[in-house]
């Protein structure tokens, strides 16, 4: 019986990773149960345009004034494992402000909140699998994992592709950030090339003179988007 194909070794973090202290009491220790491929879920939710407001992918326009920080465009394509675009993929993001502060009650870092920045956004990919967000570059911030621990600048991403097994929650990083080699969350991914794939690249082609810098980040989701669930079942 064909078994579920698992992730390429080293490309996904292990659940138990003690340098990231919160994994210690929250990661399962019993063996994960391997299922025959036929028993794994093929279907998944498909989201519609009704979920998305017109400017939900522009994090800079929802308040009276402009947010403080480096204005940036983050864009890219969502692709499946065969390199085909994933159309209509729901992409959700959240992030800290330019000072490294989240607008969230459990963030106790004393950096200032920005009255003009909430830090959440969402969009659906277009017919070419493309997405974009306009935002400000998030700052690094301290966290309680170990003495003098600082997270590198990052934007949280949540994606739904074709089928629930393509679900992905991850973080996008910025090029040239010296905090990355020190960060246990980033370094929980054993494979260096896989870590590098979470780092966006500066994109001068999409940057706009006197206005904003652009960063490009393509995201590969598990599975194949070209075979809808209904066809695969037959």
């Amino acid at each position: 019986m064909a078994m579920m194909e698992l992730a390429e070794p080293g490309t996904q973090p292990e659940y138990h990773f003690p340098p990231y202290v919160s994994t210690i009491a929250r990661s399962p220790r019993m063996p994960l149960v391997l299922l025959p491929r036929a028993q794994m879920e093929q279907s998944g939710p498909v989201f519609g345009q009704g979920l998305i407001g017109e400017r939900d992918n522009d994090l800079t326009v929802h308040h009276a004034g402009d947010p403080i920080g480096e204005r940036i465009l983050v864009h890219g394509r969502v692709l499946d494992e065969t390199g085909r675009p994933v159309r209509g993929a729901l992409v959700e993001v959240w992030q800290a402000n330019a000072a490294g502060r989240y607008r969230h009650k459990v963030d106790t870092y004393d950096a200032p909140l920005d009255p003009n920045f909430a830090g959440g956004g969402r969009t659906l990919t277009d017919n070419n699998g493309c997405y974009w967000f306009k935002t400000i570059k998030p700052g690094p911030y301290p966290w309680g994992n170990h003495h003098n621990a600082w997270r590198p600048s990052h934007i949280h991403f949540s994606l739904f592709g074709a089928g629930i097994l393509s679900r992905l929650v991850t973080q996008m990083y910025f090029p040239g950030d010296p905090l990355q080699p020190l960060d246990p969350i980033f370094n929980s991914i054993p494979d260096a090339a896989a870590r590098a794939r979470l780092i966006s690249s500066l994109d001068m082609d999409r940057s706009e003179s006197n206005y904003l810098l652009a960063y490009k980040w393509d995201i590969v989701l598990r599975g194949r988007a070209d075979t809808p669930f209904e066809e695969r079942k037959q």
């Binding site: 025959p36 959700e92 629930i164």
Partner: protein
């Protein structure tokens, strides 16, 4: 042997403690109604860690599968009826309603559940079956689970309220929930 993939899927990273900033809107869109509609079940439970302590910052996504549940309402709201996103409160508790799942020939009625939290570098995948709908030896997945651990996948039917089920997710330790490799 299936065809080899040409691209390697992106690595997972934790959802962290601040996910509500970007993900709360969909929790709100699929929130608990005051009256539980017909054909719908209610699920209540907790997420617990190794020490039995509540996990107050977990997010769960429930999927009752199948395009058969798509309806005209989905197109308007943009959210399929068979999908729910919930987050735990300060007591580690969650609650939701969702269409009652349907059994098939080789599968008892179940919901697929994804578990996200600070401290989970990759989300967990599990299933929730309904106590009063589990047939003996008919579900190919339950049969692969060691018998002594099967109960962790089965939600308990409330003794008084029909359609209400209780189900806890234990991330580690005594009574650890069965999670699937993926």
């Amino acid at each position: 042997m299936s065809d080899r993939s040409v691209r390697i899927p992106a690595s997972s990273q934790t959802v962290g403690p601040f996910f509500r900033i970007g993900l709360q809107y969909l929790i709100d869109r699929t929130h608990l109604p005051s009256i539980v509609p017909e054909g719908t079940i209610e699920i209540r439970g907790r997420v617990l860690d190794r020490d039995g302590l509540p996990v107050p910052d977990a997010m769960l996504e429930f999927w009752c599968g199948a395009p058969k549940l798509l309806s005209g309402r989905d197109a308007e709201s943009g959210v399929p009826e068979g999908f729910r996103r919930v987050a735990t409160d300060e007591k580690g508790e969650f609650a939701l309603t969702i269409p009652r799942p349907v059994a098939e020939a080789s599968s008892d009625a179940y919901l697929l559940v994804l578990v996200f939290a600070r401290g989970l570098l990759r989300h967990l995948i599990t299933r929730m079956y309904l106590e009063d709908e589990v047939r003996s030896d008919s579900d190919a997945v339950l049969l692969r689970v060691p018998p002594e651990r099967r109960a962790t996948l089965i939600a308990r039917a409330d003794e008084k309220q029909a359609g209400l089920y209780w189900w806890d997710v234990v991330l580690q330790g005594t009574g650890e929930t069965v999670f699937f490799a993926w």
